[in-house]
Amino acid sequence: MTFKLSRNQFFLFLFIAQTGTVFLSFQTPLVSATGPDAWLVFSGVGIFHYILLLLYERNYEYFKPGPFVSWMYKGYWLLIIVSFISYIDYTLAVWAFPETPQIIVISIMVGISLYANLSRAETVINLSVILLPLIPIFYIILFLAWPDFVWTNLFPIAKIDGSDLLKGIIASQFTFIGIELFLFFRKHVDSKQKVSGIPLFIYQMLWMFFFLSSVLFSLLFFSLEELKMIPEPIMYILKSQAVALVERLDLFFIFLWMMWSVITISLFAFTTIYVHQLHAKGHRKRNTIIFHILLVIFPLFLRSKEHVDMIQNSLVYFHLFFVIVVPTVVILMNRRKKK
């Protein structure tokens, strides 16, 4: 699979992979653990995210996973995709399709990913472009809630203990999911275009703005007690807004989020197949179809909200392993080999 990315394509790819699915739900566990300090905790976590990006940028050339490590990553991404699909299916069942059989909704979503992944590599890479005009609309609608914001909800701060802080940091890790794709695709970025320095900082700022604003909106709009009972605070903010001729904006945005998530799934599926093809030459089409069949079958085993939550909660620990431990080991080994 040969392709070349522009800097913008690369960052857009990374942004959508990191934001899809999780941006709707990570606020509640974060705020539950840290209260009004959530925004402060997330700001600190954002600095960690930037440090990670800087380290990745510095060492990506040494990240050359062998077949075993690749299989580990493939398994990890399969878990991510399955948990995303299960969560989307569950959310759609709550908000839109309580009666529709699970397999139909899942098959349709996975079918989109299959279609994209059977196309040329550039098609999947550029798929995120469709979201670009929709993201500003999403923000404009969220800002309609401005008059309802209670600014004192952001205070008091610095009231949490170490245990809550740790819980908050772990809850924030959902927003990091996908950052490891940086290591896999950085080498495909046009060498004439600079990534380190200002461009990377701008990416970090956009990531930070996106997630931090969603935490702030949730804190400002809901009281702490309300937030603990609302699994998708952003959707509820949208639900409370009305513009001319549209009474329920959330119904539009649940499908915008669904599109966003399907694209994220397609990107992860693309990454999995791409990494698989690095070691298994040929049969790309066959492997893509088999992988997508698995993507339809596995989420069917996660029938209840408890199952979905269990997988999602465990995902954070897998994530820490694959984002910090594995890259560190692979990079150090390759550095040593080079010496």
Partner: protein, 477 residues
């Protein structure tokens, strides 16, 4: 020298037999200075008086002892062969056979009836030239050459179809067009192995990258100014003889939304209408699907007062909104199709009777709701805004799967349909070049031209590759 046994009489008989004694075939023996000659041509394709004048001129050149007596601006001499003879006569040339010297004089003076180059019916403009192509390539080429007086304008000709011997010409500007694209067109045209090449549409089928895509990959136009503007952007125009339609490629999706009027109008006016047309793409595809989704699944998104009215209107209808929409859409398609086939005054009458009288009656009869009439009418008008007829038809067809998806899954169906459409648009290519550029691959410099008509003309070429950084534009400026 031909076989002595082949006398002039037997040659004449043979020619007549070859053309099945067609009554418009003229075959006569005539005297030439070195012996007999046989002149033959179709009287329906060649002017007899003109033939006599040319023959006299060539006879005089031969009598004067010129070495190249048969070579003039419209004639040439070849070694005799049956295939050259039949081909020459079939395409409207005059053939003069000299049995003694085994030569064939070919005089190219076919006469065909051509209509005047009136403005095409389906590409009207308010300002700008009102000329259009006709059914003869020479006349069409003269309309282009008078606008492009440059030596770099190249015409290449092929004859396609064993039975039809259709002339297919492709033209481009050597210094601007991408040589890979030119070679690609040549290769594809040469690989057409059909016995019958009749129309531009047929050639288009052979040349397209994906024939099953609903999206046209060649811009069809009958306007010389449009062809010239595209040639100057490095594109290639393909003409099939006897057709006024030029096929232009490589093009992108947004080429179909541009009109010559944009550049003839004021900058702001041109830009406004260009944006309007792009928005019409949205309404033409999504409006009926959106209505079906709202009525069938998500009526709560409407304010309560409007929701009540919609519900009241829909409750009277004995079937689901999708059938209501399909009924009305098919009805509109019937009106449109009949209006095209009938003479203009009757076509207009059918439009009025169909649109107003039957439309009103169909609502009164309770077969469709007022809201659905509004939605379908707005959709139809939106699709007619598109300046390209073939894109118009594509958009009209694409809305049906969206309507079905909306009737089955509501907004979820529309969202999934949008993703499929978007992926498809990214996969489509026109002569192997990206169709959805400048959005994908994103080209910021050209992106603004999708929505705005720039106040000056800047010549641009089609994005060449799907991959970032790999030689974005072909050819030299």
């Amino acid at each position: 020298m031909m076989d002595d046994a082949v006398s002039t009489d037997s040659l004449i008989l043979y020619i007549k037999k070859t053309f099945h004694n067609s009554s418009d075939l003229f075959v006569e023996e005539m005297e030439w200075q070195n012996g007999p000659a046989v002149v033959c041509y179709f009287t329906t394709m060649t002017e007899g008086a003109e033939v006599n004048l040319q023959l006299e001129l060539i006879r005089k050149r031969a009598a004067d002892g010129l070495t190249d007596w048969g070579r003039t601006a419209i004639s040439s001499v070849h070694a005799f062969s049956i295939s050259v003879l039949t081909e020459s006569i079939s395409i409207g040339f005059v053939a003069v056979i000299f049995p003694e010297s085994n030569l064939l004089l070919q005089i190219m003076m076919p006469k065909f009836v051509l209509r005047s180059p009136n403005e095409p019916e389906n590409e009207h403009v308010i300002r700008g030239p009102h000329e259009g192509f006709v059914e003869g390539f020479d006349a069409n080429m003269s309309l282009i050459r008078k606008r492009l007086a440059i030596p770099n304008l190249v015409v290449q000709t092929l004859r396609l179809g064993n039975d039809t011997q259709t002339l297919v010409n492709y033209i481009y500007i050597e210094s601007i067009a991408d040589e890979d694209v030119v070679a690609n067109v040549k290769r594809r045209l040469e690989s057409i192995k059909s016995n019958k090449v009749i129309s531009a549409g047929q050639v288009e089928d052979y040349l397209e990258d994906s024939v099953w895509s609903p999206f046209p990959q060649f811009l069809n136009t009958e306007r010389p100014d449009r062809v010239v503007a595209n040639l100057l952007e490095g594109k290639i125009a393909i003409f099939t003889n006897n057709s006024p339609t030029a096929l232009i490629a490589p093009v992108n999706f947004f080429s179909f939304y541009e009109s010559p009027d944009d550049y003839n109008a004021r900058v702001l006016v041109g830009s406004f209408y260009r944006i309007l047309r792009i928005l019409s793409f949205m309404t033409a595809i999504f409006l009926p699907a959106f209505y079906i989704a709202v009525v069938g699944f998500h009526s709560e998104i409407l304010p309560i007062e409007l929701s009540k009215q919609v519900k009241l209107g829909v409750n009277e209808i004995p079937y689901r909104p999708i059938f209501e929409a399909l009924l009305l859409e098919l009805f509109i398609e019937l009106i449109r199709e009949s209006a095209i086939r009938l003479p203009t005054p009757i076509g207009q009458t059918v439009g009025i009777v169909g649109g107003l009288v039957i439309g009103n009656a169909i609502v009164d009869a309770g077969l469709v709701s007022n809201f659905m009439v509004i939605v379908v009418a707005m959709t139809a008008i939106s699709s007619f805004v598109i300046p390209s007829w073939e894109m118009n038809m594509t958009i009209r067809i694409i809305r049906f799967p969206f309507m079905l998806a909306a009737s089955m899954f509501g907004f979820f169906g529309i969202a999934i349909g949008t993703l499929v459409l978007f992926i498809h648009l990214m996969n489509v290519s026109s002569l192997k070049q990206p169709y959805f550029t400048p959005i994908v691959p994103f080209d910021p410099a050209k992106f603004k031209d999708v929505f705005f008509r720039s106040p000056y003309v800047r010549l641009k070429k089609q994005q060449k590759t799907f991959t970032h950084g790999a030689d974005k534009e072909g050819g030299d400026h």
